[in-house]
Amino acid sequence: MTGGARRRRRLAERLFRAALRVLPADMRERDGAEIEALFAHESEDARASGVPRHLAFVIGAVWDILRRAPYEHWRRRGRRRNEDSTMRSFIADLRFAFRSFGRQPGATALIVLTLTLGVAANTAVFAIVDGLFLRPFPFPEPGRLVYLNERAPTWNLEFTGINYPDFHTWRERASTFESMALWAETSVNLADASGAERVQGLAVTYDFPKTLGIRPVLGRSFTKEEDGPTPSRVVVLGYGLWQTRFAGSRDVVGQPLRINSRPYTIIGVLPREADFPGRAQFWVPLNGDPNQRGESYGYDGIGRLKPGVTVEQARSDLLRAHAPIWTARDSARVVSPRLDGLREQFGSNFRAMGKALGAGALLVLLIACANVAGAMLARSIFRRREIAIRLALGASAKRVGRQLITESLALAIVAGLAGTLIGRWLVRLLVTFGSDQLPPWVQLQFGVRTIVFAVLVIVATALVFGLAPALQARRADVTGSLVGGAGTRASVGIPQRRMLDALVVIEIALALVLLAGSGLLVRAYGTLRNMDPGFRPDGVMTFQLALPQAKYPSAVAQRRFYATLTDRLTATPGVQSAGVVTCLPFGCHWGMFLRAEGAAPPARNSSNPVVLARYASAHYFEAMGIRLVHGRFFTDAEGGPTGPHPVVINEQLAKQLWPNVADPVGKRMIWNGDTVSTDWMTVVGVVRDVRHYGLVKPMIGGLYKSAFEADTSQSLESLGIAVRSATGEAAVLAAARAIVRELDPELPLIDVRSAQAAVNRSFADRRTIAFVFAAFGGIALALALGGIYAVLSYVVGRRRQEIGIRMALGAQRSQVIGLVVRQGLRLVAIGVVLGLPVSLLALREISSLLVGVSARDPLTYAAAIALLAATAALSALVPARRAAGVDPKTALVEG
């Protein structure tokens, strides 16, 4: 025997022995040795006739084991228990279920469709909730990551941003952190031969990658020295930028890249998952100065805790580390550090919305379940005779109940598959069309987690809607159903009717919650749509420009550029006015402190709310359509080194600084930051509050200073431009692009959008949730009505005889119709009575999403109830008319 043949034989025997393990244990014990011996013996013969034969023999023998094993197992189970095996009866039940569904394709399709909607809504919503709250960030041990910031209650700020020297102190003194880092979002102009492009990126401290727990895929990240106080021109590319701009070339490290017209050196490339907190295409060093003069808050922080450290422990450690800052320069303890779990912090803005969506989807599913349970129950009542026969023939009630559960499971599986597919499609749709409404760090994925969730939903669904008919079957009255025969038509069993009614009542009650909820959200959205943003957005086009320091080094040069630009824009035919501002509405924030003339410096711990400071050109107000309340706007020529500085303030600031003065024009104030300036500013006008932070957020005090005032050393690198025109946005945009290109071909237009789009964008999330809830409400209404229709049809069918007798005795058509419709309305009434308190209680939870409408708004509730009642009456009319069409003679004869 050759070595190869021996090896082959050993391999074959091992394979065969391994396969034998699938046989029942007792068979292996008794026959195992014999079977192996027989195999070895026959295998020897087969081997003699060549390799192919031998191979065929081994495969045949193994196949024989696999084919025979299930039968051997089943045979033993039958031996052990006289009853049929669970598995076999399950399969038989399943077959039976599909056969009986096949006989009623319409009803089955309806049931499946109902459940599909419920499952689709739930899986899609789960994918969103998972992306927002549950999925950990794609970094090692994400549970140890925390978000760092600072708070200053007396400034009216929950998040001030981090001051670099504060961070420096924390980093030196805190002991519960493995590392901590800062980041700041930044955007730069990338220019090369192919043109100018505006790119988002991050300025980060050198320990940022270590904190996240990632390494560059190419090259390296910054060194501590490169992140020192003196700027160094090195850049790490994001994966996306590397792919799009450098086609993933591996020799990109060491190459130059022009950022803001300055040469930088590429030192590394980030992995794909490093896109944190989203849409960052590159990293540059933050270059913070621990000895910086004056306080400037604005960075975001992230920390990685040492293993085993809790958020609480880290919080008190951070406070301890912060203490020297209070001693040294903040004795009033105005600013203190804050620390939250990274995921909690990032999801917090969406918590109310996520909860509402989840609850809404769950309600839809529950209604779908109630609906299908009703349909199944009606089916089981029609099948009473079949079930009674099976019980009479000796099937246990348990066994019959299991059959019914299996039917439910079969329906749920089909609907679950379809619903999951549709849910996946919905998520794709959302990713394609709604991605800018979601925060950039959210990754919507329809992954394993969602599928596991879908499976759970499906099983739970099957149990919920399969339970009612199964319980019914247990109580089935064998003799009654058999003896009664066709005569059972005369009346409907009381318990069955009650359960059907109960299901419809539940549906109505739940539908009321959804209808009222969607009514409230839609009304809130309507309020937002009509809300005055504080300016007239129609006909206004806005965009941003960022002048590179290298080309426009001085404030004078920057000012000259913007003055020329606005002049040329204003001269364009159709343009009514054009102006510039440092922060457009819904845009950036620059907070300052002010003190009114004559007012005492703010006392320790007293409130000193931060004020939104903006530089604007004189025509900005006109271009944006900001209304003047008192006084006048400043002009571009006013002010200067000697003259008083004219400012325009908003109503909120007027109230804040001079609460008892009706018209503050002529009043004076000064900056009141780290250093109190002596440059007085004079109020020349008061304007309406522009809702800078979004329509639903309260506006803080705000002031506009003249951007073109000759003396200020204030840098105007990046400004927003607003153009009001009568010619339409496209024409204005084309003109603006042409003018900018003429002035500087390297300058890209950033964030180009109409002011109306900016307004809409600011509440896009509210629109989404209103639409989703309206859809949920619509589905709920349709399902509830379907439920009413089904029950009444069923009742009418069962009561044909009785109705026939009534009509024979002289009842009018209208009386019969009234009888049936009243039955429907009675269910609605009970449902409303039960659903109303539930709605009032449940919808309190969405009050944070409501604007201009109370969560207990009577009008909305009344409308929801009226809608339910009216459509319920309509859906009752069909079976009612059918009842009225009953011919007394045939009905009586049939009976």
Partner: protein
């Protein structure tokens, strides 16, 4: 068991009807009987033997009936009287099946 005996049961009984055999002997005999058409794979063989024993149609012998030429085979099987009856019944069933079929085919008419 009047109808439809499984094919390999039939052949196992047929094989044992001639004389007592061990597992390997049955496999070879059935291969011969069917001109190589039916191979009783090991697990099917022992599973079926177990079932036939449950039916009471065969029994296992305590000791080898003849001086064994093949030391590996400890277990020998013998057909029982019930087994013989079942085999005969199956043969009868097949015979009548064939008879019915022949009559019908003949009735339809052979062209010759």
């Amino acid at each position: 068991m009047p109808s439809d005996m499984r094919r390999h049961w039939f052949y196992i009984l047929l094989s044992l009807a001639e004389r007592d055999r061990h597992g390997s002997g049955i496999v070879r005999d059935v291969l011969e009987l069917t001109s190589g058409e039916l191979r009783l794979w090991p697990v099917t063989l022992y599973g079926s033997l177990d079932e036939l024993r449950e039916h009471g149609w065969i029994r296992e012998l305590g000791a080898a009936p003849e001086p064994d030429e093949d030391r590996g085979h400890r277990r020998w099987f013998r057909i029982t009287p019930q087994g013989r009856r079942a085999l005969v019944a199956e043969m009868e069933r097949m015979r009548s099946l064939v008879a019915v079929a022949q009559r019908r085919v003949a009735g339809i008419g052979d062209p010759s």
